[in-house]
Amino acid sequence: MSRIIVYCGFLQEERTKLPEMGVGGSKVNVLAQDRLCLLWSEVPWPFEPAGLQQKAVEFHQVVQHVFQQAAVVPFRLLSIFDGVPALEKFAAENGATFTADLERLRHYVQMESVVYVIQERAAEEEKSGRAYLEAKAEVLRLSIDHAARVKAAIQPISQEIQVREVKSGTRIFALVRRGNEERFREGVKAVPLPQSISRRVSGPWPAAEFLSPEVRMPQSAGQQ
């Protein structure tokens, strides 16, 4: 059994070069709907779980290939359509919103900084329950404060910022004009890092956190 896997959407430009190979060595195809292009492959389905990690990297490489040249709307791995007609219907129904998002984001990339607490288990085990909770609260306060400082530092070069609290800490997503990635990294690095707190900067990524709700969870034509 095979299915259609979709990598990303992008605006049609003559100069955009497409990857030669998709997930599992599959052929990469383009479905055009007015100015919107959807990149897709026909793949054996379902995937074998053992090969998922490799497929995730291959999927990423396909999206990155286009993203290095232009703005893309990435689909998630395992975004599966029953066949080309279902994908065509999806494109017809959602083409206008996808195109509008791609126009809005065409000069931007997403940068990310994750602020998280360094676990010090050995020291924590020696503390009493109250001391442990107090220390934990203090580190959490430091983490929140640091995330706020990072956010303030990148504000001037960011078109938009999203902050999401996760179990491990705080994720800060910034919509940054393409070419300003280094300024983002420098902005984050300029904020002194307290002990017990760590952070990581990554990007550029496609601006997935800044998609409109209609694009992020579109009408999924042809899907059960």
Partner: protein, 80 residues
């Protein structure tokens, strides 16, 4: 800076170091959400920072669910 992330090098015109966990996180949790990926998103973005095994387990679980769902579908249709 200490990091739990395993760096890998991707081949391409502009080589860059990106952690495998970050790739898996973005590929599974960022972007357009349609059929299939919904199951994955239950695991949550933050789980990827707990460990790769957690995410892969979730993927496997999701795939098992999808297979089970697919197996149920013909049964449903034939019972109608």
């Amino acid at each position: 800076m200490p990091s739990d992330f395993e760096p890998i090098t991707l081949t391409g015109s502009a080589e860059e170091d990106v952690s495998l966990l970050e790739i898996i996180d973005h590929v599974l949790n960022a972007g357009v959400l349609i059929h299939g990926s919904l199951v994955i998103s239950v695991a949550g973005v933050d789980l990827v920072y707990v460990g790769l095994n957690v995410v892969l387990t979730s993927v496997e679980t999701a795939l098992r669910s999808l297979k089970a769902e697919q197996a149920r579908e013909p049964a449903k249709r034939s019972s109608k």
